[in-house]
Amino acid sequence: MSRRISPVIPGFGLTLGYTLVYLSLLVLIPLGAMFVHAAQLSWGEFWAIISAPRVLAALKLSFATAFAAAVINGIIGTLLAWALVRYTFPGRKVIDAMIDLPFALPTAVAGIALTALYAPAGPVGQIATWLGFKIAYTPLGITLALTFVTLPFVVRTLQPVLADIPREVEEAAACLGAKPFQVFRHILVPALLPAWLTGFALAFARGVGEYGSVIFIAGNMPMKTEILPLLIMVKLDQYDYTGATAIGVLMLVVSFILLLLINLLQRRIEKP
């Protein structure tokens, strides 16, 4: 007679059922409805919408700025996580709490604040103007806003992993004659990379869809600083629901492919 392995937490049937219902109501049905709505379009119509030069320009801008923001956070975020985990210094708890502020703040408020600061008349914008470049109302400004809203992702995914790497491992490596860079290259990077990729992917995905904080600093000039979510709003303001969902589907598919690639990459790193 085979023995049933009883899990530590009982009620698998109930929890799985709950999970499925919950995910369906919250994620699956709304996203599915979008595909169904977009399916009203013929393939030719769909193609005409998503291959319009304005949509392509916005697509390029949205994904490029989100990617740039994720890269910046990948570097700065690692630095922040490192400083917060590895050192004790006065005010560490306060700084640690500040990391989450971009999540708590309404994105529109962040957008207005950033614009006021980085617009040509703003305190930082003035310095930039004096140096001969513009921040607000350029792709640089969009990247800045996206960097702000996605800051917590990399920091918060790296922190626990960093804290879990035992000091002894590094010490052992050092005892065996590894130079600091070799310790970093062969001990820390492999341990951190999967979490880093997760943080990067989260930041990137969030940046692609971000609307509230970007809309004030972007300038919204067609073909130049118009983000993809704004084009969806534009379509909706013309009561063109199908056109809007077509762009939504496009974003979803592109994001999904990119996230899938990042996931596959992560798997390969985890089991060498």
């Binding site: 006021a116 109302y137 300038g219 073909m223």
Partner: protein, 332 residues
């Protein structure tokens, strides 16, 4: 408390408060710059309504971009009345939502527009660029701030005012298109709404001139104490007509038709008109208009119905995908 008893209690409280609250509450879904106007008007209406021996009514206000607000109502927001920036947006309540009849605009006086406004220029104190009329906006180096007509009702009035000026002065549609093309080349930022543009111009100090609703320009002047900006009235502008309507399907379901209708009618009363004028909207009532004549600059106004054949023609021609506004940016 057992679940059943809790459920019973919840149900009972819903039964008690539900209908009672519905009978005395109406929702006015409006666009952005009417916030101050309706706060004042709602208090006045309530006084007027209870003076007739009726039960006091709470008017909930909802504000946002005009198109967005219309969409919310179509998607199920239970508005009793809508007071939007363009007739075109209310038309969609008929077309997409079947919430009101097609002839809604003929149900109230003056094409259901109790107050009007127009588009004026707000410039920095002393008018350093010497901006007096639309021609000055297309000069090289002048920065013009206006929102995006694709997302803002106010911006559509701005666009059409510039178009009307160019067409009358230079005589052809082709010339008018050339003119607005030049004008939009001078626009460094396209905000999504009228308030956004005001913030860009006033707080972030971008641009030399803001194309604004007249009431919004006066409000900016009032808030800043008038020492940083001044209003310039162009030689010609457009009569902006933000209309109002009772949402039939919703009031019939909620049983609020009487109060909703009275609410909108009261906008036409002398007191309603005076409150509109105090909030820098141009009143329709001639006596009240005469009282406040000094407040509003005199200028030649074209109208959407006579000069553009109404929103039903203007919207697709100018602002829908592939329309003239898109062509301007496609050409660049």
């Amino acid at each position: 408390m057992s679940i059943r008893r809790f459920a019973l209690a919840a149900l009972a409280s819903a039964l008690i408060t539900g209908p009672a609250a519905a009978a005395t509450e109406i929702l006015n879904v409006s666009y952005d710059p009417t916030r101050e106007l309706y706060q004042e008007f709602n208090a006045a209406f309530n006084k007027h309504w209870t003076a007739q021996g009726k039960e006091a009514v709470t008017v909930q206000q909802s504000h946002g971009g005009s198109g967005k607000q219309a969409r919310a109502v179509i998607d199920g927001l239970r508005a009793d009345v809508v007071t939007l920036a363009l007739a075109g947006d209310i038309d969609e309540l008929n077309k997409l939502g079947k919430l009101i009849p097609a002839d809604w605009q003929s149900r109230l006086p003056q094409s259901s527009t109790p107050y009007t406004s127009t588009i004026v220029f707000l410039v920095r104190k002393g008018n350093p660029e010497g901006i007096k009329d639309w021609d000055d906006l297309v000069k090289p180096g002048v920065e013009v701030i206006t929102p995006n007509p694709k997302t803002s009702g106010g911006a559509r009035w701005n666009f059409l005012a510039a178009w009307a000026f160019a067409q009358q002065k230079y005589g052809s549609e082709a010339k008018a298109q050339e003119f607005v093309e030049k004008l939009y080349k001078n626009v460094p930022v396209l905000d999504t709404g009228a308030r956004g543009s005001t913030i860009t111009f006033v707080n972030n100090q971008i641009g030399d001139v803001l194309l604004a609703w007249e009431n919004e320009a006066f409000l900016a002047l009032k808030e800043q104490g008038g020492d940083q900006f001044e209003i310039v009235a162009p030689s010609l502008s457009i009569l902006a007509e933000p209309p109002v309507a009772v949402v039939d399907k919703n009031v019939d379901k909620k049983g609020t038709r009487e109060v909703a209708t009275a609410y909108l009618n009261y906008l036409y009363s002398e007191e309603g008109q005076r409150i509109a004028a105090k909030n820098f909207y141009r009143p329709r009532n001639e006596a009240v208009a005469a009282e406040y004549a000094k407040q509003f600059p005199q200028l030649k106004l074209v109208t959407i119905d006579q000069d553009f054949n109404g929103w039903k023609t203007a919207q697709p021609k100018f602002f829908n995908d592939g329309g003239i506004f898109d062509q301007i940016y496609q050409a660049q």
